[in-house]
């Protein structure tokens, strides 16, 4: 066998190995692609069946600088509408969104303002979106106004011969007074923050007692997938609203059960 024959055989050998490798690579790629589509389908199916009923009221906090981008805000609302989320509160600290209200309602034809909706927002049949626009003045300033209202009412009652007892002031009184001064929205179940800072930027403190807070990043980089994921994760969360003992004394167990009368919802963590 001369050199030429050896080279020829070697060449065929290399070719056969190469073909085998290519075939293996091809089958491997096919499996990878199939697995990807299979997983994507399962994930899509899972995310498609989000139990939206658990999310009765959603709040969106947007940096005031980004809030000028009305088109992005409208797109976000359209995504929420398509997911079946109908009750949304929009907040930015400086009230930019309030000023853009008209433009937003012009684009969101099936949306109504919370002022137009008579019945409790979370009870109405969700044929349309209900939008609430909130800013800093609806937070701490509103609490001050509500407190002032209570003081004035008490003073009037006292002047008419009634008892003046400010120490009887309780949370329900403040709740009621806040409704009167215009803060009608309920406590959001979920609050999404769009902005560089992981802070709710002064969203009305009275309303976020047990609200889940999720930071979504800048509004400029908002993604439909991220929104779905945040909502999906929320629906899987379990919350015990103030049901556990506030305190426990080792040696002498004193269990004081505290039930928050404002909230009796449960979401199960899976």
């Amino acid at each position: 066998m001369d050199f030429r024959d050896i080279a020829h055989n070697f060449y065929h050998f290399i070719l056969a190995i190469g073909n085998l490798v290519l075939q293996l690579l091809w089958y491997f790629l096919q499996n990878i692609v199939s697995a990807y589509y299979f997983i994507s389908y399962r994930v899509f199916k899972q995310y498609k069946s989000i139990p939206i009923a658990k999310l009765q009221y959603l709040a969106i906090v947007i940096e005031s600088e980004d809030a000028h981008q009305t088109s992005k805000v409208v797109q976000l609302l359209q995504w929420l509408d398509s997911l079946g989320i109908k009750n949304v509160c929009l907040y930015d600290m400086n009230g930019v969104l309030k000023k853009s209200k008209e433009a937003i309602f012009h684009k969101m034809k099936n949306a109504k303002s919370i002022e137009e909706v008579n019945e409790a927002v979370t009870d109405h049949v969700p044929y349309h979106m209900t939008l609430e626009f909130v800013s800093y003045v609806d937070g701490k300033e509103a609490v001050a106004k509500a407190a002032n209202l209570i003081f004035v009412e008490n003073l009037k009652r006292h002047n008419l011969g009634g008892e003046l007892d400010y120490q009887a002031l309780l949370e329900p009184h403040l709740n009621q007074a806040l409704q009167i001064v215009g803060c009608k929205g309920p406590e959001p179940d979920l609050l999404l923050v769009y902005g560089p800072v992981r802070s709710h930027l002064g969203f009305p403190a009275w309303r976020i007692q047990y609200t889940e807070i999720v930071h979504m990043g800048s509004l400029n980089f908002m993604r439909h997938g991220s929104l779905i994921k945040a909502i999906y994760n929320f629906t899987k969360v379990h919350q015990n609203y103030g049901k556990f003992s506030r305190y426990m004394y080792i040696g002498k167990e004193i269990n004081h059960k505290y039930i928050d009368c404002a909230s009796k919802k449960h979401r199960r963590e899976e």
Binding site: Y136, A144, H200
Partner: protein, 297 residues
């Protein structure tokens, strides 16, 4: 300031002058170089994890741990250390359950995490606010009295103390009195405290002033109410950073008013497993963010 609920609010460190040109905090004008504070808030349970069985008994004292802990600050900028950190110490119960231990062990383990954090805050002059399970507060005060006195830690308490056992009420009063002149660190214990309760009691205080004639109705605004909140016992009532462990994403009625502009750092670790590395991560997270305090146009 470390706010804990049953993280407890804690310790304040001696006045310190810091400048942070990126901040335009509403509370900056009230901030004097002062004691750091720690406010820690407990979640639904208070627990701590202590890997060492001996430490699980809470025998290690603050000063021993101070000697052991080596803090590295190379990745953190000193001028951007938050003045006031609030911590929700959540996960003690789950930690104990995962290990088949009784709940009390989880709380004990959580105490060790708390001590570690207090040490770090002492070294870094951060105010810490915590809300404590009152039984643990009693244990800490009893076991760390010497360290509290030596380290000049001022103990304060916020929350509705009327429902606490008399013995604890007396103990707290005594500790508050004996440490009122301490200046190195302020530990504020939030016991039976709620954010809404705080606002309501502030409104009652304001109402009383109106009734007494020392305040006019037309003068009442958010600043007046803020001055009557229970956190008036500190120089920096508003936390810069809130840390909550165990993966929960809410503030659970803790310092609702005060957390308006706080950075919210939610960590997956259970409180007993939250240590120095996690705290450094939280501080790094805080320093990376651009912060705007109440920058209204």
């Amino acid at each position: 300031m470390l706010s804990l609920s049953p993280p407890i609010t804690l310790i304040t460190c001696p006045p310190k002058t810091t400048t942070n040109p990126t901040h335009a905090s509403r509370s900056q004008s009230r901030r004097l170089p002062s004691q750091p504070m720690i406010i820690i808030k407990r979640g639904t349970t208070v627990a701590g994890s202590i890997p060492n069985a001996d430490k699980a008994e809470g025998r290690a004292s603050i000063d021993e741990d101070l000697l052991e802990v080596e803090l590295t600050q190379t990745e953190l900028r000193k001028e951007m250390i938050p003045k006031h950190v609030a911590v929700i110490m959540d996960g003690n119960g789950r930690w104990a359950k995962m290990r088949g231990l009784p709940l009390s062990e989880g709380h004990t383990a959580g105490m060790q995490s708390l001590k570690t954090m207090v040490k770090m805050c002492l070294r870094w002059e951060i105010k810490l606010e915590v809300e404590f399970l009152f039984s643990l507060l009693e244990r800490i005060i009893n076991s760390e009295t010497e360290a509290i006195m030596r380290e000049q830690i001022k103990i304060s308490m916020i929350g509705d103390s009327s429902k606490l056992p008399k013995s604890l009420q007396r103990m707290i009063s005594s500790v508050e009195e004996s440490t009122k002149n301490h200046s190195k660190l302020q530990l504020i214990a939030a016991i039976n405290y709620g954010g809404k309760y705080d606002v309501v009691q502030a409104c009652k205080s304001v109402a009383k002033k109106v009734q007494d004639g020392s305040l006019h109705l037309e003068d009442i605004d958010e600043n007046i109410i803020e001055k009557e909140l229970e956190t008036k016992c500190t120089e920096f009532p508003n936390p810069d950073l809130l840390i909550r462990t165990s993966g929960e994403l809410r503030v659970s009625n803790f310092m609702l008013w005060q957390l308006a502009y706080a950075e919210l750092f939610f960590n997956q670790k259970l409180w007993p497993d939250f240590g120095k590395d996690e705290f450094v991560e939280a501080l790094s997270f805080f320093q990376k963010r651009q912060r705007r305090y109440g920058g209204r146009h």
